[in-house]
């Protein structure tokens, strides 16, 4: 009897006693510690895959890799992984793997990602490539690791184009450069003694549109990246500038002053038919398609100072989008279509800012001087921009939450107008 009562009482106590809950509402912005163990059978290869992956992850700002010298062991298979070793090093994740060669002479890397703290495998994968694609193999590892840990796709295999000014008069002073997003494997698409401006990617990633003065007058060109063939799209009197592909890559928005005043036009690429979409005595410039392709955002001085407006292509009616500050220009829409990034002048200093299109909330993302030409990564997590470092134009990158900022290693000359590629197949 007493036992029953005791049991009953203890049951009452247990059932009435809910667990205390600790609510975590904040986090740290510290990078996640990760170990990229040198991959098996990679000695003597022309590229150091472990080093490329580590650099990718470090540069993202979200990871901090540990040096090879600190590793207590260098496992290449699962059974060689001693989680205690890695726990002692306070790393959250460890990446291991080994290279093999396929019968046709290609390289195949098998790699595995482990959650050190809970001692389990998160992912394992394979990536294959020619000897010339060892960097691609490394970036594929970085992309997979990044995506598995952060929940968003990695951008380490994407590309960029930018304009480089070598700073001396003569042929090849201005270069249109194509490169891996980490700056490696740069390739000059176009070199000219005359300025090259405003390169942009098609949404499929197969073409570049840009402005070149090679004919001594500005003209818009489209270059096919696979063949290197370029096509001149415009040759109007006056300003021909700021091309931008529509989401389906069938149209090109641009700024033309052929009618006397810079206005926004949309050209059908196949037919070259032009549609004028603005009509104002102010300067309308720097168009960009909205994510749904139904409207075009552009910079206009019609209100006195440069501000961003959006015009619906069907109705032709423009609406002002930005209201914060005296200067907002060169809009670019983020991949999710929900925000724009722009050049924003605050107290005489040019910064990169983002604005939520729905709420109108603006946020300044960069702190450097003379920041310009923002271009958003296809995963929407970062953007590239041009800035000045020790009097020299360099590329900077910033995460869209402004938590991570870094500048690319300096090139030979001034680097400007970077354009981040879409995801490439």
């Amino acid at each position: 009897m007493r036992l029953i009562i005791a049991l009953f009482l203890s049951w009452i106590t247990l059932s009435a006693h809910a667990l205390l809950t600790v609510e975590i509402t904040k986090g740290s912005a510290k990078p996640t510690p990760i170990a990229i163990v040198p991959f098996g059978n990679t000695n003597g290869l022309p590229e150091d895959i472990q080093q490329i992956v580590s650099a990718d992850l470090d540069r993202s700002g979200l990871f901090q890799t540990i040096p090879k010298g600190e590793m207590l062991s260098q496992p290449t298979t699962q059974k060689e992984v001693y989680f205690r070793d890695w726990q002692r090093l306070k790393v959250s994740y460890v990446v291991i793997g080994a290279m093999t060669t396929t019968p046709d002479g290609r390289y195949a890397l098998h790699f595995e990602l482990y959650d050190v703290l809970s001692s389990r495998q998160v992912f394992s994968g394979n990536t294959v490539g020619q000897v010339s694609q060892l960097r691609d193999i490394a970036h594929a590892v970085s992309d997979a690791v990044f995506e598995k840990i952060t929940g968003i796709p990695g951008i380490f295999s994407t590309k960029m184009v930018y304009v480089e000014d070598l700073g001396y008069a003569g042929p090849g002073r201005y270069r249109l450069v194509f490169a891996d997003i980490d700056g490696a494997r740069e390739r000059v698409l176009q070199a000219s003694k005359m300025p090259i401006l405003s390169p942009v990617w098609s949404h499929r990633g197969d073409k570049i549109a840009y402005v070149s003065f090679e004919t001594t007058r500005p003209a818009i060109y489209i270059m096919d990246l696979a063949t290197g063939r370029k096509t001149q799209m415009t040759n109007f009197p006056g300003l021909n500038g700021a091309p931008a592909f529509s989401p389906d890559d069938t149209r090109l928005a641009m700024c033309l002053s052929k009618d006397g005043n810079p206005e926004i036009y949309v050209m059908n690429i196949a037919t070259r038919q032009l549609q004028r979409i603005t009509d104002h005595f102010g300067i309308d410039h720097e168009p960009a398609f909205s994510a749904d392709g139904r409207s075009v955002l552009f910079t206009s001085s019609r209100g006195g100072s440069p501000q961003i407006y959006q015009v619906d292509l069907a109705s032709g009616r423009p609406e002002r989008v930005t209201f914060d500050g005296e200067y907002n220009a060169r809009p670019r829409v983020t991949p999710d279509g929900k925000s724009i990034v722009m050049v924003h002048r605050d107290k005489g200093i040019f910064h990169i800012a983002s604005q939520d299109l729905k709420t109108g909330d603006m946020r300044i993302l960069t702190e450097t001087l003379l920041d310009e030409s923002p271009s958003v990564a296809p995963n929407g997590a970062m953007l590239l921009y041009a800035t000045q470092q020790q009097g020299k134009g360099v590329l900077g990158a910033v995460s869209m939450d402004a938590g991570v900022k870094f500048t690319m290693p300096s090139r030979q000359g001034d680097v400007r107008e970077p354009a981040w590629s879409p995801f490439l197949k």
């Binding site: 009482l9 205390l20 600790v22 509402t25 986090g27 990078p31 979200l62 998160v122 598995k148 968003i152």
Partner: protein, 303 residues
Amino acid sequence: MSDAVRKNAIPTLASLTLHLGLLGALYYWETHRDPPPKVVEVQVIEAKLVALKTKTKVAHQEDTRKINKVEVSQAVEKEQDIKNRQEDDRKAAAEKLAEETQKKAQQESQRKEQEAKVEEELALKRKKEEEKEKEKEAKEKAEAEAKAAEDKRKAEELAAKAQEEKRKSLEDKIRKEQQAEKKKQELLKLKQAQERQIRAEQAEEAANSYLAMIKDRIERKWNRPPSARNGMACVLHISIVPTGRIVDVEVVKSSGSEEFDRSAEQAVRSVEQFKELQGMDPDLFEQDFRELEILFRPEDLRQ
């Protein structure tokens, strides 16, 4: 079943007894309704003789009493007469004596005759009485047996009743004990609840500071993935040992994002140990801190 038996015992026995009695009476009636004619005759004679005998005796006694009365009341008045009449009386007495002697002889023979008759009748009567006695004895025996059965039944009933009462009192006792125990337990419970409340209030401050410490330690370790958004939430269940070491972490409610859940789990695991819990009151630890739920719900993200 036993109840029914018990309930019906008395009426059953009563009816049995009644039946037996009726049967006895019926038997008696059947055997005596048509007595043989001889016996009837004897009976009549007997009745006459008894009546006669009784009358004679009574008359004789009354005479004696009358004589005595006369003698006492008239003794003084009739003293003279007595003397005068003594002679006459003597003569009369002599005559009377002779008469009486004759009468006596006559009476004697008559009496003897009667006595013989009486003797005969008495013998018959005795025989009859004996028979009657036997019948009576049989009847008494039957009655005694019935009575014994009745007594037995009554005794059994009594015993059953006593047992029932005993059982009832035992049950009462048990019930009372149970009630007392229950009351005791309730009081104990109440007392414990009060004590717990007091202790809880005292411990609440301490517990809150420990909770704040735990919250801070985890928040410092939580690296939210860039895919995290305000409004996402996951719940972890963690087990802690008294050294403060976290021995088990389990996602009990997912945010729907593997990366978000893992970041939360890693935040807890990378804390490894809440050394501060070592200084905690062991009761408080057992009550509130051995198992904890950690809700991860970012509120400070931009989106």
